[in-house]
C-alpha cells in the first residue's frame, strides 16, 4: 500500500491547525531519567515546578487536607491539583496558584514566582526552593525534619512586603 | 514498504485453532497476528537481555507474577 497525502487535504488541515500545539506523548521517563545533560534553562523550569509541586503537597498534608478537600475548599480542579503535586508536564493556571495562596495564607506573588509564573526573580525564594526540593521527599508522612524545612519555607513565602 | 518474503509454517491443529481464534478476535489475517506476536516477542526478548523484567499484575489482588523466559 502506498501512503497518500492529497495536496488539498494537506492545505485544509494546515489552515485548520493554525500553529497551535499538536504534541502527543507522555512525560517521558526514558529519556530524562538520571539525565545530567539537560540545559540550564530547562533545569530552571524543572526545579521550580518540582519545588512548587512538593511544597503544595507538603503544606496540604500538614494541614490535613485530602486532595478532594483542598480542591473543594480552594475551588480548584482536583486533577490539576494532583498534577501540580506530581510535577507532571502541566504548568498550573495562575488562578489556581492565587486560590492556593489564599487558602494557605501565603503571598500570592511569591507563590506565583515559585510556580514559575512570574518574571520577578527573588534570590531568597529561589534558594529556598532549591533547598526545599533537595531536602524533601514527596511520599510518606512528614518527618520532623521535613516539618522544619516546610515551616522555614512557608515563612519565606508568607512574608508579605 | 520493503519486499516481503513468503514462508511455509507448520502448526499443530491446536496451534492453528489458537491462531484462527486470535485472527477472528482481533479482526486480523493470520499473517498480521503472527507479525504482531513477533514484535511482542522481540521487544520482550531485547528488554530481558538488558536485565529488565516483565510482570503480570492482578489489579484486584495487587499480586505481581514475574514472567520468566529461559
Amino acid at each position: 500500500m502506498k501512503f497518500s497525502f492529497p495536496r488539498e487535504w494537506c492545505i485544509e488541515m494546515a489552515r485548520e491547525e493554525n500553529g497551535y500545539p499538536v504534541s502527543a506523548g507522555t512525560l517521558d521517563s526514558i529519556s530524562t531519567k538520571n539525565d545530567a545533560s539537560m540545559s540550564c534553562a530547562v533545569e530552571d523550569v524543572d526545579n521550580m515546578r518540582v519545588a512548587f509541586g512538593r511544597f503544595i503537597q507538603m503544606i496540604r498534608r500538614k494541614r490535613g487536607y485530602s486532595h478532594e478537600q483542598l480542591a473543594d475548599n480552594a475551588d480548584v480542579d482536583v486533577v490539576e491539583l494532583k498534577n501540580i503535586e506530581k510535577s507532571s508536564s502541566c504548568f498550573p493556571a495562575p488562578r489556581t496558584v492565587y486560590q492556593l495562596a489564599k487558602i494557605f495564607n501565603l503571598d500570592s506573588k511569591k507563590l506565583l514566582q515559585l510556580a514559575g509564573l512570574t518574571k520577578k526573580r527573588d534570590v531568597e525564594i529561589e534558594n529556598g526552593a532549591l533547598a526545599f526540593a533537595a531536602n524533601s521527599e514527596s511520599i510518606g508522612s512528614l518527618t520532623p525534619e521535613e516539618v522544619e524545612i516546610l515551616e522555614t519555607f512557608v515563612a519565606v513565602l508568607a512574608e508579605k512586603r | 514498504m520493503a519486499t516481503k518474503k513468503t514462508m511455509t509454517l507448520n502448526l499443530t491443529p491446536e496451534e492453528m485453532e489458537v491462531l484462527e481464534g486470535l485472527s477472528a478476535k482481533k479482526e486480523l489475517s493470520k499473517t498480521a497476528v503472527l507479525r504482531m506476536a513477533l514484535r511482542f516477542y522481540q521487544l520482550i526478548d531485547v528488554r530481558f537481555e538488558q536485565g529488565q523484567k516483565l510482570y503480570f499484575e492482578d489489579d484486584e489482588k495487587k499480586e505481581k507474577a514475574e514472567l520468566i523466559f529461559i
Binding site: A14, G25, V42, V45 | R39, V46
Partner: protein, 210 residues
C-alpha cells in the same frame, strides 16, 4: 526498515504560501542532527524568552523531550516505527509509534491500534512560542501517517494517543474519542480514533480518497 518518502505540502505562514515537503517513514541521523543543532537551541531560546516575559504558559509542554534518547532506546525494535516531516532539508516534525497497542474505547476494546508514543513539531512551528509559527500542517500530516500505517497493518485506522494538555483542542477537533484522564498516570487525556473517525479524518467526510 527501508525508508520511503512521500510528497506532502505545508503552509508557510509568514508568506502564506504552500510549500512542498516530504513525509519520511523513518527518523534518520540527519533528523537527529537537526534536532540537536536546530530544535534544541531554538527551544532554549524560546524558554528563556518566555521566562523573561512572564509567559511560562507559552512554553510547549514537550519542553524536556529528548529525541536522541528515545530513538536510541528503541533502536531495532520492530514494534516501534518512526516518521519525520522534512521541508527544504530541515526537519519540521517527528513521530514515534507502537504497533500494536490495543484499543480501550468500548466498541473497539482489545482490537489492535497504532499508539502514538510521541509526536512533536519543531519549536519554530508553534504559534505563540517563537512568534506566530513558520509551517502549518506538520501535526496533521504525521497523524495521517499514523492512521495510514494503521490501515496498512490491518488495524482499520484505529489509533490512540495521550495528548499534552495544550494540544487537547487539536485532537478534540478531529473528533477523536476522549477517554479521559484515568488511563494515564501523568494526568494526560487519552484519545482514540475508531475506524469510523479514521475514515472521516482521511477523507474529510468523503471528499478525498485514502
Amino acid at each position: 526498515m527501508t525508508t520511503e518518502s512521500f510528497p506532502i505540502c505545508l503552509l508557510h505562514k509568514p508568506t502564506d504560501t504552500i510549500v512542498d515537503a516530504v513525509l519520511q517513514t523513518s527518523i534518520e541521523e540527519a533528523q537527529l542532527e537537526d534536532w540537536r543543532n536546530l530544535w534544541v537551541p531554538a527551544r532554549e531560546e524560546g524558554i528563556k524568552r518566555c521566562v523573561s516575559t512572564k509567559q511560562i504558559e507559552c512554553i510547549p509542554q514537550s519542553y524536556r523531550w529528548k529525541w536522541d534518547k528515545k530513538i536510541a532506546y528503541y533502536d531495532g525494535i520492530l514494534a516501534k516505527r518512526t516518521f519525520s516531516v522534512v521541508c527544504n532539508d530541515r526537519t519540521e516534525g517527528l513521530m514515534l509509534v507502537t504497533t500494536p497497542a490495543f484499543a480501550l474505547e468500548e466498541s473497539q476494546k482489545g482490537k489492535p491500534l497504532v499508539y502514538v508514543d510521541f509526536l512533536e513539531t519543531a519549536p519554530w512551528n508553534i504559534n505563540g512560542f517563537l512568534g506566530q509559527g513558520e509551517y502549518r500542517g506538520v501535526g496533521s500530516v504525521l497523524l495521517r501517517a499514523a492512521v495510514l500505517l494503521s490501515l496498512q497493518e490491518e488495524y482499520q485506522g484505529r489509533i490512540g494517543l495521550q495528548s499534552l494538555p495544550d494540544a487537547e483542542a487539536f485532537y478534540s477537533r478531529l473528533q477523536m474519542r476522549d477517554l479521559g484522564l484515568e488511563h494515564s498516570k501523568e494526568g494526560l487525556r487519552y484519545f482514540e480514533m475508531t475506524p469510523i473517525e479514521a475514515n472521516a479524518f482521511l477523507t474529510r467526510g468523503g471528499r478525498y480518497e485514502i
